[in-house]
Amino acid sequence: MSSFFKNTELDLNKAEKIVSETLNKCDDGELYLEDTKSESIVLDDNKIKSSNYTKESGYGFRAINGDVVAYSHSNEISEKSLRNSSKNLKSTLKNSEGIYNSEIKKTNQKFYNDLDPVDEKNLADKIKILNEINEYSRSISGSVKQVTANFLGERKNIEILRCGGELLKDTRPLVRINVSVMVEKNGRKETGVYGVGGRQSYDEFLKNDDWKKICDEAYRIATTNLESKASPAGEMKVVLGPGWPAILIHEAVGHGLEGDFNRKKTSVFHDLVGKKVASDGVTIIDDGTIDKRRGSLNIDDEGTPTEKTVLIENGILKNFMQDRLNARLMNTKSTGNGRRESYKHIVMPRMRNTIMLNGNNTQDEMIKSVDKGIFAVSFGGGQVDITSGKFVFSCTEAYEIINGKIGSPIKGATLIGDGPSSLKEVLMVGNDMMLDPGIGTCGKAGQGVPVGVGQPSLLIDKMTVGGTQI
């Protein structure tokens, strides 16, 4: 039973009729309905700085003919509004003569429970824990001068109504807990940030006082940085730690393997399928099917069941990530990567959990093999230029490596590399694959969607390190 129409004169039958009338001569399209509640509670400077609750619902109506997409969205769910949207779509797709592709795979797969993180724990309890986080973090050491902590929770209901009346549904919980600690010693200030999250209850992360580990980790990173010296500049060997540093994979190759950039031939990878793009032993997948992970989905935002898509296998480029539009135009099938931030946004091929699989080396072997280089353990944000292939990411915890040994921590530096060549410069792949703690949000064309990454330790032959020390 659909819940979207209960407060309006519009019922499912009427909506179905408008959708079918609008789309029957289009190649594809759907009515996407969304109902989301979310909360953000922020503790900052010893106070609950804000407590925001948001309830939003709306629809996005999409019609596709050939390679032209018409989209109209509104937060007024009514027959009048939907008819206006229909008119707007038809005015863009003049004289559309497509044949509607009604094929869509069915699934019963479920990677997360139907729960409501926002309401299942009351606000007073969440505030109490944030205050405990603040007190605990400040009690670790007198050097802690500032603590910011927040809870972000969301429950999103979506329904996808296709031409002919097919209705696909998903309910998606998502939580995230972040702690940021600023320490000060001898006039020098540094911060450390750590967070956890996933498609589950807050309590999964809070039970057994597990939240203390988040504070401890944020504090550890901050104090490490207090001792950091200026980073070297120039090309050198880089050892990446396991887990979150896989945002390198996300930036270096992930975006370049999204279907839209390859259909439009603006990605450096567009003519490299079947070719060698990475060292032997490098296998990268994009997996939407891992239990309770931030980047997992039962179905994508077009209704396609998610899957485990092999992108690069043993160094050879195998597949791109596809939504329905780009898959059709490239004569292939959607891989369940069609995603959108909300009903206000158009669908694009987006990553889910992007992971490099294990190899055979140990992190120790990697460090020992480096005469001069850096060991990067954690990163802040990254970015890529799809066309030139250049990508960057900024270290939030890194160390120098001298003669096979880990040396002093170094100041946050940006690393820059070239997507297609950097994976060919992977010298060793570790056996310690880890997934990230569940905090990633990927931005593309102004839309943010939750994603995950994972990788084992990696040794890269050369990358340019953006320090100040020559």
């Binding site: 200030k189 066309t387 030139s388």
Partner: protein
Amino acid sequence: MIKEDRFLEKIADFCISKSKDLGSTSSNVLVMNTISENVNIRNKKLDGSERSENLGVTLTTYIGKKKASISSTNLSENNLIELVTKCIDSTKVTPEDEYNSLPDQELHFKGEKNLELYDNTHLSNDEKINFIKEAEEVAFSHDKIVNTNGSGFSETKSNFILANSNGFSDGYKTSQFTAYCEVVSKSNGSMERDYEYSSKRHYKDLLTPKQIGDSAAKLAISKLNPKKIESNKMGIVFDKRIAQNLLSTFASAISSNTISKGTTFLKDCLNKKVFNDRINIIDKANIKKANGSRYFDSEGVRIEDLQLVKNGILSDYLVETYSGKKINRKSNGRSSGTTNLYFENGDQSFDQLINSEKKLLYIKETIGRGANIITGDYSVGASGIMIENGKFTFPVSEITIAGNFNEMFKNIILADDLEFKYSTSSPTMLVNGITVGGK
């Protein structure tokens, strides 16, 4: 059609009076309607169109020094009652914070609204398509432009009412017209992209399609077949579109929020020399038709003109009510951030600037968010063009540039070519002694 004031006021009034009925001691509400229409084209033909219509309400209620907020897009009366109730319930369980309050009534904006921030012009989808198609056609007329990443035109109109329980109730319409063109150049196996865009409150103020297409094409072509250079310390010339980012970083380092928490490298720098004495920074809200202009901030506070830096000395902060109280300063209307923020012109021409050293690196693009406002450290990926003896010689890419703002700010030399293309604007900027990470 964009909703008129009276419609929005009715919802605002309802929320304020319902909040009072249910026990709030004060409240603040924003009701906003935005309609935007855009078209995207690719390879000179239509790629997509999008129409969006948003109407939403954000309510903050106070009970004494307790505060909570709620927002929603469902404005039916039943839902509004449910929201106000939920907001009040949340307020009750939120701890007191002595700094929570509405702004001082005497700071409320009152006065004329004559900045011409709204242009009623409406372009049909076909007119939008023709405008941006012409830009792409011009771009494709350049050799070596082989593809596009898409180009687009958007028209956005908004109206809002901001009201609080101290009697403030005001709002106004704004419009924004934006055209952009992003093209791909190719030569000898090298592929590069670049863009040009124009975004204005009034349709007639936009660059012409020809100017946009020509500029995008030239920029993308100038990046082809780049080289990587040796690591070195050198003078960097920041193109205007990058120089403005340094100004934005400066602004976030002097907001009352970061100052009150001490999480900024510019803490305790008020009335001290932060830049060299040729540098002046202004934030001015009342420039006619300008992108950053507004009458009042998100709390309804009037916006003073600020000279943030005078002859290199930091002379003011960006202050809003809550964090302003923590540092004993009254709001100067910056709860929505800066308005039209700019460096005053320097005394050198662009030519003098690029001839000031034998070798300089001209930076046109940076990637990554490498500015740390707590330590002042700066490190980003970059690409640009080498300048040798005042001549642009070859493109450079896959390098990093790094330094610390404390030092960089003191070394800034500005050209005299300021223009108000963005809401944050800088003339071309030279900074000596920056570390370039390359080979």
